[in-house]
């Protein structure tokens, strides 16, 4: 028995190996069945949007919104993008799209830059009172925007930014700050403190450490923050409707105007094409970023 490296074959009767599993066990049928039904429920609206947007109006009037399009036409898409009217402006959603892009780029860049520096200061350069301000900031994330809308109008007017792009960028920066600061603070806190100490011993200052040590190490969290902000700002409606003027309306506001204001007959196919077009940007980001998106919302949420 001394050497039992045991490659001898032993005689076996009865069950051996893995318990045979039926692929169609009741448990599996239940799990996959429920998941399939759920998946259908979640996919249905997307499907309906796509199907409707590819139909002509006669087909819509006759038919079934769940039926696949028979005569596929891209006319509604063209119309939604470049011809749909709000009032006298019949430039379609394209105007809103470019407005959104114009709002998006500086808002995302500035809000992330400021929040990351804030988070960095909070994580590594604690000063007296910092936590107090931070606590207020986090509480601020829960204050209903409605209570701050009007003073913000006055504030922007006094700064001369009302109705201007800069004003909306400021609003997005301010209201995006709590969650982003939290995100960055938590991330920087999780980095090894020795690194920061070593850099200080090496004589690097506040900005030096930020740009040369922290920034290069934090690319993932910047990506997460970007996903969070791009979807958030793109999907914003309230600020867009209050703090911009009609020719600068972001896509969501313009979409609502196009769909909910009618000239004669409602063109459901154009409406759905417009709705899809507005949803495309966040959807693309979502599908492309996959796990990072999940990580972003989970980090922003669970750690709160």
């Amino acid at each position: 028995m001394t050497n039992s490296s045991s490659n001898t074959t032993v005689e076996m009767t009865g069950p051996r190996g893995a318990k045979p599993k039926r692929a169609l066990s009741p448990r599996n049928i239940m799990i996959y069945g429920v998941l399939l039904v759920v998946a259908c429920y979640y996919l249905l609206p997307l499907y309906v949007m796509i199907a409707t947007s590819l139909k002509g109006m006669p087909e819509i009037r006759l038919g079934n919104i769940f039926a696949p399009p028979v005569d596929i036409t891209f006319e509604p898409w063209v119309k939604a993008w470049s011809q749909a009217c709000t009032g006298l402006n019949c430039e379609g959603l394209s105007r809103g799209f470019w407005n959104s892009v114009r709002i998006l780029i500086p808002s995302v860049a500035i809000s992330i830059l400021i929040a990351s520096v804030n988070g960095y200061a909070l994580a590594n350069w604690k000063f007296k009172g910092a936590e107090v301000f931070f606590t207020i900031l986090i509480f601020g994330a829960f204050i209903p925007y409605q209570i701050m809308i009007y003073p913000m109008v006055i504030f922007l007017r006094e700064l001369g930014l009302f109705g201007k792009l800069g004003g909306l960028v400021l609003v997005h920066t301010v209201f995006g700050m709590p969650i982003l600061t939290l995100l960055f603070r938590n991330y920087f806190t999780s980095l090894p403190e020795e690194l920061f100490k070593a850099a200080r011993v090496d004589g690097a200052g506040f900005w030096g450490i930020y740009f040369r040590i922290m920034l290069p190490m934090s690319i993932p969290i910047f990506v997460v923050a970007m996903i969070l902000q791009v979807t958030g700002i793109w999907n914003d409606f309230l600020f867009g409707v209050i703090y911009t003027k009609p020719d600068a309306y972001p896509m969501t506001v313009q979409l609502n105007n196009i769909v909910n204001s009618v000239q004669g007959v409602k063109e459901y196919n154009v409406n759905m094409a417009a709705t899809l077009l507005t949803g495309v940007v966040p959807l693309v980001i979502y599908f492309a970023s996959g796990k990072l998106f999940v990580r972003g919302i989970a980090a922003g949420a669970v750690k709160g």
Binding site: M1, S6, M12, T13, R16, G17, K19
Partner: protein, 358 residues
Amino acid sequence: MTSVSIKNLDLNFGSVKVLKQLNLEIDHGEFLVLLGASGCGKSTLLNCIAGLLEVSDGQIHINDKNVTWEEPSDRGIGMVFQSYALYPQMTVKGNLSFGLKNARVPKDEIESRVARAAEILQIEPLLHRKPAALSGGQRQRVAIGRALVRDVDVFLFDEPLSNLDAKLRADLRVEIKRLHQKLHNTMIYVTHDQVEAMTLADRIAIMKEGLIQQLDSPAEIYNRPVNKYVADFIGSPSMNFLDGDMSTKGKFKTGGTEIDLGNYEFVDGPIGAPVWFGFRPEHVIVGEAATSQPFSTKVVAEIVEPMGSDTLVWTSIENQPFRVRVDGQASIKTGDEFLLGFDPARASIFDKENELRV
């Protein structure tokens, strides 16, 4: 009479073979320790026995019953985990009785089993506390208690002491030994700590890469390791190995030094091939007494590591590092030249080609 018997067990994770054609027989009342470095498959084997992992091929019998396809709870086992795995929202009593309640054990029966387990483990005062209010040691006692109340013959321990600090670990180790002596259950215990293995086990199975390297009593494993891996793994500080050959029958030769193997017990008689000559540091004798040993030589102390009870001296033989464990009171200092000697009968010699004991 076997308690647990494992026959030709295979376990694959995808294309990775974690356990390979493994056979193991464990007697009733035996304390078997599965020992090995992390990733050797020892915990995997334990999980297979518990039924927490589905085996790919082979059989598992517990108490002469083929349980290969049985649910964990029907295998007649109890298990204790490294992270204790207590149900945090229940009291100690709740933790002990939850499984029993679920199995619809009568209420007074539950009471008496819980009381007995609590008494054995001396956790009566803790019964109404929640796990969060317990120390690590207390938690692990509760976890053992949870296995105890199941009234089973086989206990499985998955590195139960690894989350505890050194002192508690030593205390609880003794406790487990006492428990085994009292209950006489079969215990299968996974650890990477050789002290635990040596102190607790009736037999130790040393595992590497999904294979059992050696299954033997602790003494046998210590004295007569079957291969270089086992020899190196067991013992602290680990065994010295001198690189040489046995081209002259009955003699080991490394560089200019020749050691007469004298009373060494060969497995199949001496071979004329390159070998490793293994010798445990604690079996070396230094100073005047060394001259009385079959082999002795003069060496220089290169590094001296005093550890209180004893001192580890680093030296070299034929430019190969050689450690010597000497008494803590010995007065060897760095740079000192001293005499060492040993009896080659206590050595372990391994064929350099297959690293098996010769």
